[in-house]
């Protein structure tokens, strides 16, 4: 690992905005917040993955991965970050290094690759991602990028987050550092308004940002840049002229918010677009911070009026579902910000959270959960649940639905229990007031799909296939309604036939 990367990681760990980090002794802090992974019992992406997640949503730049085919070939085009314009970010660019590059170094191939991209695709910038193998053989991507920038007259940005540097979360921060070091503050916006904000850590998954943007538009608030969902290079380069920063995804890019505050005095707050209460709180925060920064103070009143209208409309639409979803038990297997932001949302839908995983959550995240869930929250915080435990919990009908990322979906499906994707591979947007209605509607659609009753029908023969007819139709129906009742949390006689 180059000296600069080591220093960078230490710097990221020094994060003043992270209470968890500041609570540690100096010695512990030096070790960083990277927990040593347990070989043979680890899951999740690497630092490169994290950096790519953080920056790939910048839609008009070419994202070039310098490494062997695994890093890009096995992973490209796998997220649903939406773009309102350029589609270049969906193309996979990689140097696909060969054995000879490993022996002689891959810098020449990298330089040529940058040239090919600029000649063929002419993007406003190229982001170059370091990977384990090229880092290990000592390719100096900073030097190559500097040379390429000078030669081609275009920003070529090194993103130094090789996979072995640590987990995904560290990669998010290292990706953010690349923006701080090379992008933000390098251009000036065409004009500014007192209503300019940046949204940091929002990836516009399945277009979620667009569920929120109309609210901001209506209030006259301009998203000067979004880092990085539906982002444009030039917008991010001029992000330093915003009046307020909103930080979305918990701590993943907190370093951008804190450093922009240090460098340009831009105040930031942490908000969420998930959940009705959180959305309203976020709008209030934006308005009050903008007014503090000099925007006309009627913004606050206009915001309150908009919130009133939007909340009333959302509640009315959710009320229909509340009746059906009241008391439904949800197992929430996700991490970080979603461990609490979605909790609030589900409670609004009348549901009960029987468990939320806090494996990837920060201390603050856990505080938030306690705040939202009240007494007994501890009992529902699951630190590290094995798939087998999740399966047992669902099979024994201690939960009615599991919300999680795509990788653990089969735990629920194989237990023949409803499941909903709330991570990055999903197809439904859950942002803002609109999104919360959509989430509740999706949960309703999942739980009340009659397929659950179908797939729980036991085969009318034994495992040997010979006891055909041994199970009488009457007995089978009784059995069925029992299972259905258990699944829906009803008494058997309440089950619709």
């Amino acid at each position: 690992m180059s000296v600069s990367l080591k220093a960078k990681i230490a710097e990221v760990f020094e994060e003043p905005g992270c209470d968890k980090n500041q609570g540690k002794s100096e010695k512990e802090r030096k070790k960083g917040c990277t927990k040593q992974l347990s070989p043979g019992a680890a899951a999740g992406g690497c630092a490169f993955d994290g950096a790519k997640i953080a920056l790939q949503p910048v839609v008009d730049v070419a994202h070039l991965v310098h490494g062997p085919i695994a890093c890009e070939g096995n992973s490209w085009d796998n997220r649903h970050s939406a773009s309102s314009g350029s589609q270049l970010y969906r193309s996979g660019f990689t140097t696909d290094i060969s054995e000879l590059d490993v022996i002689y170094g891959g810098e020449k191939r990298l330089f040529k690759s940058i040239r090919e991209i600029i000649e063929k695709y002419d993007p406003p910038a190229v982001f170059v991602y370091q990977t384990c193998v090229t880092a290990l053989v000592g390719d100096d991507i900073e030097a190559v990028c500097q040379r390429a920038s000078a030669k081609f007259g275009k920003p070529v940005i090194p993103v130094n987050a090789p996979g072995f540097a640590g987990p995904k979360n560290l990669g998010n921060k290292l990706g953010a550092e690349a923006l701080l070091d090379y992008v933000i503050g390098t251009r000036e916006p065409a004009f500014t308004t007192p209503y300019d904000i940046n949204i940091i850590g929002e990836y516009n998954l399945v277009g979620e940002l667009w569920q929120v943007k109309p609210l901001l538009d209506a209030l006259g608030i301009r998203i000067l840049s979004c880092i990085s969902g539906d982002g444009r290079y030039n917008e991010i380069a001029s992000a330093h002229r915003a009046k307020v920063n909103m930080m979305v995804c918990s701590k993943s890019m907190i370093n951008i918010a804190t450093k922009m505050e240090q460098r340009w005095g831009i105040p930031y707050f942490e908000g969420s677009f998930y959940g009705i209460g959180d959305m309203s709180e976020t709008l209030r925060q934006i308005a009050s911070l903008l007014v503090k920064q000099g925007a006309p103070d009627d913004l606050i009143e206009r915001t309150e009026r908009l919130i009133e209208v939007e909340e009333a409309r959302a509640w009315k639409r959710i009320a229909e579902y509340r009746k059906r979803l009241q008391g439904k038990r949800v197992l929430l297997i996700t991490g970080g910000v979603k461990s609490w932001s979605v909790v609030a949302a589900l409670q609004e839908g009348g549901m009960e959270i029987v468990g939320t995983s806090v494996k990837k959550s920060t201390k603050e995240d856990k505080e938030k959960i306690k705040e939202i869930m009240g007494e007994g929250a501890d009992a529902h915080m699951i630190d590290d649940m094995t798939p087998r435990e999740m399966y047992a919990m669902l099979r024994d009908a201690k939960a009615d639905i599991m919300l999680s990322g795509g990788r653990s979906q089969f735990v629920a499906l194989k237990a023949r229990m409803p499941w909903l994707d709330i991570n990055q591979e999903r197809y439904h947007p859950y942002g803002g007031y609109e999104g919360m209605v959509e989430l509740v509607a999706e949960i309703d659609r999942a739980i009340f799909n009659p397929v659950w009753q179908q797939v729980r029908i036991p085969a009318p023969w034994g495992d040997d296939g010979e006891s055909l007819g041994a199970v009488t139709p009457t007995a089978s129906t009784d059995h069925l309604s029992g299972i259905a009742a258990k699944a829906m949390g009803l008494e058997p006689e309440e089950v619709p036939v």
Partner: protein, 466 residues
């Protein structure tokens, strides 16, 4: 027939290729009660895992030795040992299968040596088989990783046994689906032969609901089955990628072999059934004689839509040959063929050349083609080009039911023909009144009796009306 050309580009754009460790892990997923492990950074495993989940819509057991910078430089012995012990403790597999990655190969970890040391130091692993295959990311592709994994399994676990006359070993290539394997098993069994399938993803990735949650693979070739391959009377391989494994079986147990370069198509399946008939001494069952006749009819019905069609295919070598070969037999022209790695299969491909390249190359080559065929990553190119698009191979993440797609045997070939023909039928051009304008010369000739003085006027008129 096809000449192999390597891309001259420095930058791969929109990769067609996936890495060796992923192919090796895929092979290991076809072994029962197995835990595949990538010896590398956790991202290597994570990316592969996500891709496999997206394709199969199944839980995928795949672990990592979680290498970091320091362990990469100092060597990964401790990580391998810890991973083996952890997996043994948590999932209790019968077999742990390790493949290396670019990271650990760059450092040069001696994993064979590590395993020997672990064996000495940790007797608690005595009840667990360990297979290792070297698969650097920066060499070869998915298919190569799969190929080497099969060879490694054979070399590690198979010993010569007394021959069982009615048992054969079936080595399916990585391009075969669980459905394909089921189809071939049925065909072999129809001759009264007993196949040992290695690896058998039809047991593990076929999307069944197990009675309980298991951390390892949910089925596939058992250790006993693998060992029993030493008693097979014959080895049948599907795809050139299985030759190395079949030859390893021959070297170890003296098993004769035949490699079928593909099993999509009429003549190749005739050969397979003849071979099985010879091995078993039984006639071809009526069911397959009937299926053959159905396939003939499908080829006749289908050829109207495939004849003269210009095709662009991007696929791993054996799949390219399977689909390309069939299309060629159905009258299509393989205008643009892109593949991932070198293979003996390319020599058999009825095309001018095969480019070892990426989907950018395929997109460029497909511009004047009628049909685009590749894995799901080709969807962007198909959209841009507005061409009919057939998804094949791995990954196909935007369609469900991949495990049950059958493209081998007479029936599978028929399916494939229908699928392609239907795609083309959807695009049959609907013509309009103005589609066939006459040339200006023809119109001039028809409207006026030309004289030398009038000629310039009519020319102006004709071009104005055109």
């Amino acid at each position: 027939m096809a000449r192999v050309v390597e891309s001259k580009k420095a930058c791969t754009v929109n990769p067609l290729k996936m890495s060796q460790p992923l192919g090796a892990s895929f092979a290991f997923l076809g072994l029962d009660a197995c835990m595949p492990v990538m010896h590398g950074s956790q991202g290597c495993t994570s990316f592969g895992l996500v891709l496999l989940v997206r394709h199969f819509k199944e839980a995928i057991p795949l672990q990592t030795t979680a290498m970091n910078e320091v362990t990469s430089i100092l060597g990964g012995y401790d990580n391998i040992e810890a991973a083996l012990l952890n997996i043994r403790k948590r999932a209790a597999p019968k077999l742990i299968a390790i493949c290396s990655t670019g990271l650990t190969e760059t450092k040069g970890d001696d994993v064979d040596g590590y395993i020997a040391t672990v064996r000495k130091r940790k007797p608690e692993l005595d009840d667990t088989e360990i297979v290792y295959v070297s698969t650097p990311d920066y060499v070869g592709a998915f298919e190569d990783g799969f190929k080497h994994a099969i060879t490694a399994i054979v070399k590690t676990l198979v010993k010569p046994l007394p021959v069982v006359a009615d048992q054969i070993t079936l080595l399916p290539g990585s391009h075969l689906s669980p459905g394909d394997i089921d189809e071939l098993r049925e065909i072999v069994q129809a001759f009264g032969l007993n196949p040992v399938v290695l690896p058998d993803i039809s047991g593990s990735l076929d999307g069944h609901i197990p009675p309980d949650w298991r951390g390892t693979t949910l089925g596939g070739t058992t250790l006993e089955d693998i060992r029993s391959a030493g008693a097979s009377a014959f080895t049948i391989g599907v795809g050139e990628q299985t030759r190395e494994g079949a030859e390893a079986l021959q070297a170890i147990a003296g098993t004769p072999l035949e490699i079928f370069e593909r099993l999509s198509g009429l003549e190749v399946n005739d050969r397979l059934l003849q071979r099985l008939s010879k091995l078993s001494g039984k006639p071809v069952p009526a069911r397959y004689r009937r299926q053959r006749s159905q396939l003939l009819d499908a080829m006749l019905d289908g050829h109207f839509y495939t004849g003269g069609v210009k095709v662009a295919i991007g696929a791993e070598p054996d799949l390219l040959l399977a689909v390309g070969g069939l299309l060629h037999e159905m009258g299509a022209e393989l205008r643009c063929c892109v593949s991932t790695t070198k293979s003996a299969a390319h020599a058999l491909l009825p095309a001018q050349e095969v480019l070892l390249g990426d989907l950018e190359d395929l997109e460029a080559g497909a511009a004047d083609c009628d049909l685009l065929i590749t894995h799901s990553h080709g969807r962007q190119a198909a959209e841009r080009l507005d061409k009919p698009f057939l998804r094949i191979g791995f990954p196909v993440f935007d369609r469900i039911g991949n495990a049950h797609r059958v493209q081998v045997g007479y029936r599978g070939t028929m399916n494939l023909i229908f699928e392609i023909a239907n795609l083309m039928i959807e695009r049959i051009a609907h013509h309009h009144a103005g589609d066939w304008p006459l040339t200006p010369e023809a119109r001039r000739a028809a409207t006026h009796v030309a004289t030398s003085t009038e000629a310039p006027d009519t020319t102006t008129l004709a071009s104005a009306s055109a």
